[in-house]
């Protein structure tokens, strides 16, 4: 059976949150798909960028389960082409922020041997600790 979308007041809250964090009027996206057709990372994504926008419009929290926003490289190919002038990379960043702000550690630093830790670049550590791609 096809999946059901259940709409509740939670959905509005989630949409409002993403609009606030991104500063983008997500609701004006008219789902033309220019972003998806332009995206160089599309082959790796589970949701297309336009699908990500659609789910945010409907306030679907499940958007956060997707890899799409973590794969967004902020190359702005979508942004410079969006006929509605939306900056999708900001929306992707907003989605990342929602997860990041939960401050969940994805690795246990103490489990990493000290000599290995000394070798690891800071950015890789932070990435691994906070981002789902780690």
């Amino acid at each position: 059976m096809a999946d059901k979308i259940v709409i509740s007041s939670e959905n509005e809250t989630f949409l409002a949150k993403i609009i606030e964090l991104s500063g983008e009027a997500v609701t004006v996206c008219d789902q033309c798909g220019t972003c998806s057709g332009s995206c160089p990372m599309i082959a790796e994504m589970d949701l297309t960028p336009s699908q990500m926008m659609r789910m945010v419009q409907l306030g679907q929290r499940e958007t956060l389960d997707s890899k799409t926003m973590w794969l967004c490289a902020s190359c702005f190919a979508c942004t410079v082409r969006c006929p509605r002038g939306l900056d999708l990379s900001k929306v992707a960043e907003a989605l990342r922020q929602v997860t990041l702000r939960k401050a969940i550690d994805h690795i246990d630093i103490r489990a990493i041997p000290a000599d290995e830790l000394a070798e690891l670049p800071q950015i890789a550590l932070v990435g691994a600790l906070r981002k789902l791609t780690g």
Partner: protein, 798 residues
């Protein structure tokens, strides 16, 4: 005095922001306001009756309506007064919709305060209103139609058939416009040329129509009932009376250039007939490419030698013709979007990317069995090229592309059912009569409609095939496939000539760049310039049926005016307080239309010539000049209410907005729901020049914090020289402020066109912010200011 005040809800447009009860209550507190009401719809029958009944019952002698902009319903309420036995000029409207509820929707408390203040300003003004005499002028039966596409043709024929004299001016050598290039018309698939050509032929056959092709309107002076039009008739170099379009000249002409009619797919000669069914069907020489005309001397001249009718003359010169008409219909049409601007689609660089207009021509020739370019393989249409795309600056939908792509795609599919035809669209809009059914026929024929806007096209450098990259947004899969031919469904843009005709006729543009109608619902073909009408795509994208309807409507609206035989003129004219006039004659020089003379030591105004701009008033050293309906006393009374009691907070920004542009711009800003500082009051003046330095200083003395004069851009102002006088007045006022130790930057002026919505809001906000930073003008300085004004002459204005 017995004033009635009526506060309109405008069905929520006002009352959802402004507390209308409070406004009515505040107005009712004035001793001379005998009745003050609020009502759902003042402009409705019942609302009008309410006023009429009150005038009878309460013996009202003044009426204030706090509602929308007077440019919309001013006339309605004036008629109510007139039919109730009052002079229509003892009415004032407080614009609490465009200038209040619509532009302050985010601050209802302040909006209510402002609405009270605007209503008080109107009350202060209405007390000083005088009964003004009706002036009329005769109006004849002559119309100028600008543009000879289907809109102009239909308008001209309707007017001509109704017995009105028409001058139809067309820029190119033939009438017919874009419709003459189309293959078939949707949704009925009539052959476009077949249905258009008889109409084109009717034009020169109509005894009431004078057809001026290859001609351009150079300038327009005057007004309804007396537009003086200068038309330049370009040199054809071929005498149309002798030419029979035999084609011998074309055979001999050695110059070949891209053929505009065929969208550059074929070439034409320097001497040519625009197309087969051109009207007039005569040759013309393109002087920009003809060898003789570009190089001079005795170069070439083959056409002249071969012409059997001696029709060619290289000495032909452009001629200027002057025409006087009573009304004007603008039907200058559109241009297709320049596809090369959308660089990701490679138009002009990729061999197999064409525009839809080129496809129209390709289909016409293919159907005639003489293809001008092969149509084979897989074909893809890309929709919304240049429409609904903020990246190219066009936010609007062009309304015709969905249906013409449906048409072209199914014509192609039906002519060869094995052919793959795809249409990539964002939304498919099939809103017109028979459109949805026609779209379905395309689907039945096997055209594949894919919902997704194409992201980019890539050309294979060897095969020249084009790869389309697009998301099928319905399946959420990316399509990356090769096409043999890609057709760009380009949208409509305002024609290149729109700008100049708009300037000549003082027409305003909507934010999309097309010309603005007087009212989007009830005056869809009128403009704010009386006697000027719009027909067709010059007003906005539309298809042929809508264009023809509008063209007939424009003709009917023009006839409505002309059949009245006379036209009522504005009673706003300058007048002289004779006892104060010492006959110095400075106003004579100041008047831009030479309407003032000095006889027996007193200035006299010729009311027939006076345009009511107010430019003369600041020239008078003795304050003897004044303007009806905008008297010194009225403006000052309005200013005093605007700044608030006892000078208010001292931060009010007064915007003196000229009637032609500033005031309408402020209306448009409201209509667009742009917001700006609530501590602003818009005061209507006929022109910026009406705001005298003395009035400005009096305003500051009364407690104003800043003054902005919103004036028409010089070239679009109805009043010659107003901007110049305004600039001088501003300079005088600033100097006077500086001399009295007050910041001169409190006075600003901007010369606007009516599309500068954001700039208007930004200017008001900028001045409001500055005034807040500077603070109110201290009381001692204000007192000093008011003393200074009493002197006989403020500053030598010479």
């Amino acid at each position: 005095m017995r004033v009635g005040v009526y506060v309109c809800h405008c069905g929520g447009n006002i009352s959802e922001v402004v507390d209308v009860k409070k406004v009515a209550e505040a107005a009712g507190a004035h001793a001379d306001v005998v009745i003050s009401r609020d009502y759902e719809h003042m402009c409705s029958d019942l609302g009008q009756k309410l006023i009429a009944d009150d005038i009878a019952e309460h013996k009202l002698d003044r009426v204030v309506v706090a509602a929308c902009s007077p440019q919309f319903q001013g006339g309605t309420f004036m008629r109510v007064l007139e039919t109730s036995g009052l002079n229509p000029h003892v009415l004032e409207m407080a614009n609490i919709r465009e200038h209040c509820s619509w532009c302050h929707g985010d601050s209802p408390a302040e909006a209510t305060g402002k609405a009270v203040s605007l209503t008080n300003m109107a009350i202060a003004r209405v007390r000083l209103d005088e009964a003004l005499e009706k002036r009329t002028m005769p109006i004849g039966h002559r119309t100028l139609v600008v543009g000879g596409g289907i809109a102009g043709i239909q308008t001209a024929l309707d007017l001509g058939d109704s017995g009105f004299q028409v001058h139809l001016v067309e820029r190119s050598p033939s009438i017919g416009g874009k419709m003459a290039q189309l293959s078939r018309t949707f949704p009925t698939e009539d052959c476009s040329a077949c249905i258009l050509s008889p109409k084109m032929a009717d034009v020169p056959a109509n005894p009431n129509i004078e057809l001026l092709t290859y001609s351009e309107v150079e300038s327009v002076e005057g007004h309804l009932g007396g537009f003086e039009v200068t038309v330049v008739r370009k040199a054809r170099y071929v005498d149309p009376d002798k030419c029979v379009a035999c084609g011998l000249c074309e055979e001999k002409c050695p110059v070949s250039v891209p053929n505009e009619y065929e969208e550059g797919l074929t070439s034409r000669k320097a001497i040519y007939v625009p197309f087969g069914f051109a009207v007039p069907n005569k040759n013309v020489i393109d002087e920009s490419v003809c060898l003789r005309l570009t190089k001079g001397g005795t170069v070439c001249g083959l056409c002249q030698k071969v012409c059997p009718h001696d029709a060619i003359s290289f000495d032909d010169k452009p001629r200027t013709e002057r025409i006087t008409v009573d009304t004007i219909v603008v039907a200058t049409g559109y241009d297709t979007f320049d596809a090369a601007k959308k660089t990701v689609y490679g138009y002009g660089r990729y061999e197999n990317v064409v525009t839809a207009m080129q496809m129209e021509r390709m289909i016409v020739h293919a159907a005639e069995g003489s293809p001008i370019r092969p149509i084979k393989g897989r074909i893809g249409f890309i929709q919304c090229v240049g429409s609904r795309d903020e990246q190219v600056g066009n936010e609007y939908c062009s309304r015709v592309c969905c249906m013409y792509a449906s048409k072209l795609s199914q014509l192609l599919k039906r002519s060869d059912p094995k052919r793959d035809v795809y249409v990539f669209y964002t939304d498919l809009r099939a809103f017109g009569k028979g459109f949805e059914e026609y779209y379905k026929r395309g689907q039945e024929a096997g055209v594949k409609f894919v919902r997704g806007r194409v992201a980019e096209l890539l050309e294979d450098p060897v095969t020249k095939k084009v790869t389309v990259k697009v998301e099928d947004t319905l399946s959420r899969q990316i399509i990356e496939s090769e096409f043999d031919l890609v057709v760009l469904s380009v949208g409509m843009e305002p024609n290149a000539g729109t700008e100049s005709i708009a300037g000549m006729l003082r027409l305003t543009k909507s934010p999309d760049g097309f010309l603005q109608e007087a009212h989007p619902k009830f005056k869809p073909v009128d403009t704010l310039t009386e006697g000027v009408f719009l027909a067709g795509t010059v007003q906005g994208p539309k298809d042929i049926p809508d264009t023809v309807s509008q063209a007939s409507a424009a003709a009917a609206r023009a006839i409505r005016l002309m059949n009245q035989g006379e036209h009522v003129l504005s009673p706003v004219v300058a007048f002289v307080h004779e006892s104060a006039c010492d006959g110095c004659g400075e106003c004579v020089a100041a008047c831009p239309v030479e309407a003032i003379s000095v006889t027996s030591g007193v200035a006299r105004i010729s009311e027939a010539e006076c345009t009511g701009c107010g430019a003369c008033i600041s020239s008078c050293p003795t304050d003897a000049l004044d303007l009806r309906a905008y008297t010194n006393d009225q403006l000052l009374a309005e200013v005093r209410e605007a700044v608030g009691e006892g000078g208010g907070r001292g931060t009010a920004v007064l915007v003196f907005a000229d009637d032609m542009t500033g005031y309408r711009l402020a209306d448009n800003v409201g209509t667009a729901r742009l917001t700006y500082d609530t501590d602003s009051r818009i005061i209507r003046v006929p022109s910026g020049s009406r705001v005298t330095p003395k009035l400005m200083l009096e305003a500051f003395a009364a407690g104003a914090g800043g003054i902005l004069i919103a004036e028409s851009e010089e070239k679009s102002s109805p009043y010659a020289g107003s901007a110049k006088v305004m600039r001088k007045n501003v300079a005088v006022a600033r100097q006077a402020l500086e001399d009295r130790g007050i910041e001169p930057e409190r006075v600003r002026s901007i010369e606007f066109v009516t599309v500068m919505l954001a700039k208007f809001a930004a200017e008001v906000n900028g001045l409001a912010a500055l005034v807040r930073k500077l603070g109110p003008i201290p009381e001692d300085k204000r007192n000093y200011l008011s003393k200074g004004i009493g002197e006989r002459r403020l500053v030598d204005s010479r």
